[in-house]
Symmetry: C2
Subunit: 342 residues, 2 copies
C-alpha cells in the first residue's frame, strides 16, 4: 500500500526491566510488520539503574543480544556516561521512559524534563511525572517543539487520549466514570463469584497483572493516579492526588456483595470525575451500581471508561488492563505516531 | 490553557438539508467552545441541489441568517457558479461533503475527486464514495497533499478510525465484529422485549435515527456499506459490496427470538470481518450470540465495535448510532483536526 522508503526512528530506552525487555522483544517480533508500515525503529541506547549501553555501530543495538545478556554482562558493556551526556552524545529522536512511579516522580520526572530541554520527544509509561507536573511538562514540550505521549499510563489497552483528543475534539465532556485498575476489578469479580479475598488476591498475582506488592492497587492509589492524569489531560484541571476522595476495596465483605446482588446491583471500584459548577468532583471508591450501567458487566482484569459527552451521549471503551506485552504494543504505536511527524 | 491566537478555518458545505443545517446550528452553538480551542470556523460557501450561496463579506456567511431563510429566499441568493467554479473562485480550506449515499457514488464522488484535484481537504459523511473508490480517493488525496476524513460514515459516535489508526497503530487486527446499524438493533431489541415488528419499526422511525424509507437499514445494505469501508480502511483490502454475505432482519420471527432466549442467547444483526488465510471473510447477518459476548448487551440505537487484536486482546467501543447532531459534532472534530495542521 505504502510506497515510501522506510523511515528510521532512533530511540533510547530508560528502564530495562520487565517492561523495557518486553518492548525490545516486541520490536523484534514486529520487525516485519513495522517494515510494512515503512518504519525502522532502532535502539541507540539502553539505560538502567546500574548500566548505560550505547550503540557504536550506527545500526542500532542488537536487541536479540541485549535480551540474552546476563546482568553482569550488561554491566561489563556499560559506558561511563551520565544521563545528560547520553542526551548530548547519543543520536536519537525519542526517549522511551519506563522507570516506575515514585512519590516524588524521580528519576522519571527529571529524565523527561531534560529530554525536552534537549529537544527530544518523550514516550512514557511512568505515571508519577504526569500526576505531579503534567501542565509544566506539556509547556516544556511545546516550548521545545517536542511530542509527549503517555497513553499506556491509563486505561489498559484502551487508547483513551487519542480517542478523546482527536476523535471527540469538538465535544465537551461532562463526566467520566471508569474501572481503571484490573487488580481490584479482578478481586471484586472473584468475590462476587464466591472466592475468598486471599484466594482472589493470590490468583491475580499469578496472572502477572499487578505488582508483587499490590498495595497501590488495593488502596485505590493506582486508580487515583490515573484519575489525576485523566482530569488534567482531558479536562484541563490542575487536580492533585489529595483532592481525590479515595477508598480501597479492603473492607468489602461478602455480605455487602450479596446485598448488592439481591438488589440487582454489583459492587465495582469506580473512579469518577464530574464537572460541577464549583469545580471537579473526583473519587475512587467501591460503589453499588445497577446492572444497566455498562460498567456492571466489566469483569476480571478488564478496564473500562464511560464518557458522558454534551453532544454525543455516552461513549464507552473496554479493554484489558495492560501487562508488559500490551504496554509495549502501545509504546510502539506512540513511537510510530511521533515517527510519522519526524 | 492555549496561548495561540485563533486560527481561521474556511469551509464550504455541500448539502444543506437536515445534516448540513445541523452542522451550521452546531457551529453557532459551539462558537465559544471553538474559540477556547483557538479555532474560528467560517463557512464561505453553501451548495445545495438548487442553489449556491457564497460569502461576499470575507467574514464568512451569517449562519443564523442562512438557517432562517426559506428555500425560495435561498434560491434568490444563489449565484450562477458551477461546483468547479466555486473550487476556483471561493477561498476555502476544507470541503464538507454531506450529500447522500447513492448506488454510483455521485454527486459526492465527483465532488470529492474535484476537491482533491484543487488541493482542498475533504470531510464527508457520505458512504458511497468510500465504498466504491476508497483507495483511489486516498491516493488522490496523498498526491495532492490533502487530508481525507470520514469518521461519521461508520460506527455512530464511536471514533473508530482515529482510535485504530492512531491508538492501535502497532497492533494487528485479526477480526472485527460489530453492530453497525442502530435501526436494526433497535428493532431486534424491541422484538426481544415483546414488541411486534411494525410497532418497533414505527418507534425507530419516530426517533429520527433512520430514513423515512429504512429499506437499506433492514436489508443489511447500510451495515454492509460500513463493513466495506472498515475493511478497506483498516485492513487494506479491496472488498466490494457483492463480496459480503448480507442478510437482513426481515425474516426474524418471535419464535427464533424466544428460542435464542431459552438458550441464554440473543439475536443480533452482526457485521463481521475475519482475516483468513485465503482472504477476508465478510458478512452481515442476524446471529444468535451468547450473553458473554459484549455485543449481546448492546441495545436500542447503540452501535458497538469489537476488535480482536494480535497483541492487545479484545477492545470494544460502544456509542449511540449517530443522528444529525452527533454527526455534526464528529464533522467539527474532523475539521478541527485538519485545522491543527493548516
Amino acid at each position: 500500500m505504502d510506497r515510501c522508503p522506510s523511515k528510521t526512528i532512533r530511540i533510547v530506552l530508560v528502564g530495562f526491566g520487565n517492561l523495557g525487555r518486553s518492548l525490545a522483544q516486541m520490536l523484534l517480533e514486529k520487525e516485519n510488520h513495522l517494515k510494512n508500515l515503512s518504519f525502522n525503529i532502532v535502539v541507540t541506547g539502553i539505560i538502567d539503574i546500574d548500566y548505560t549501553i550505547i550503540d557504536e555501530t550506527e545500526q542500532g543495538l542488537n536487541l536479540q543480544e541485549m535480551l540474552s545478556l546476563k546482568n553482569t554482562e550488561l554491566l561489563n558493556r556499560s559506558v561511563n556516561l551520565s544521563f545528560e551526556e547520553v542526551l548530548q552524545q547519543v543520536p536519537f529522536d525519542i526517549l522511551v521512559e519506563l522507570t516506575p512511579s515514585t512519590p516524588n516522580g524521580d528519576p522519571g520526572l527529571s529524565h523527561i524534563e531534560k529530554a525536552f530541554q534537549n529537544k527530544r520527544h518523550v514516550v512514557t509509561s511512568n505515571k508519577s511525572p504526569l500526576v505531579l507536573k503534567y501542565h509544566e511538562l506539556m509547556d516544556l514540550a511545546r516550548q521545545n517543539g517536542c511530542e509527549f505521549r503517555f497513553e499506556s499510563t491509563v486505561g489498559g489497552v484502551i487508547p483513551l487520549f487519542t480517542t478523546v483528543q482527536s476523535g471527540l475534539a469538538a465535544n465537551e465532556i461532562l463526566k467520566i466514570e471508569g474501572i481503571l485498575n484490573g487488580t481490584t476489578n479482578y478481586i471484586l469479580t472473584r468475590l462476587s463469584e464466591g472466592s475468598t479475598y486471599p484466594q482472589a488476591l493470590n490468583e491475580v498475582k499469578k496472572l502477572g497483572f499487578c505488582e508483587t506488592n499490590p498495595t497501590d492497587d488495593i488502596s485505590g492509589l493506582d486508580a487515583a493516579r490515573k484519575l489525576v492524569i485523566i482530569a488534567n489531560v482531558l479536562l484541563g484541571t490542575h487536580l492533585t492526588l489529595t483532592e481525590i476522595k479515595t477508598h480501597g476495596i479492603e473492607a468489602i465483605s461478602q455480605a455487602q456483595i450479596l446485598e448488592a446482588h439481591l438488589n440487582n446491583q454489583v459492587i465495582k471500584h469506580i473512579a469518577s470525575l464530574e464537572v460541577a459548577n464549583n469545580g471537579i468532583q473526583a473519587s475512587v471508591e467501591p460503589k453499588s451500581i445497577n446492572l444497566s450501567n455498562p460498567l456492571a458487566h466489566v469483569n476480571g482484569i478488564m478496564n473500562a471508561i464511560h464518557i458522558f459527552t454534551k453532544y454525543s451521549g455516552e461513549i464507552t471503551l473496554f479493554g484489558i488492563g495492560a501487562g508488559p506485552k500490551e504496554v509495549a504494543t502501545i509504546l510502539i504505536s506512540e513511537i510510530i505516531s511521533i515517527g510519522t511527524k519526524l
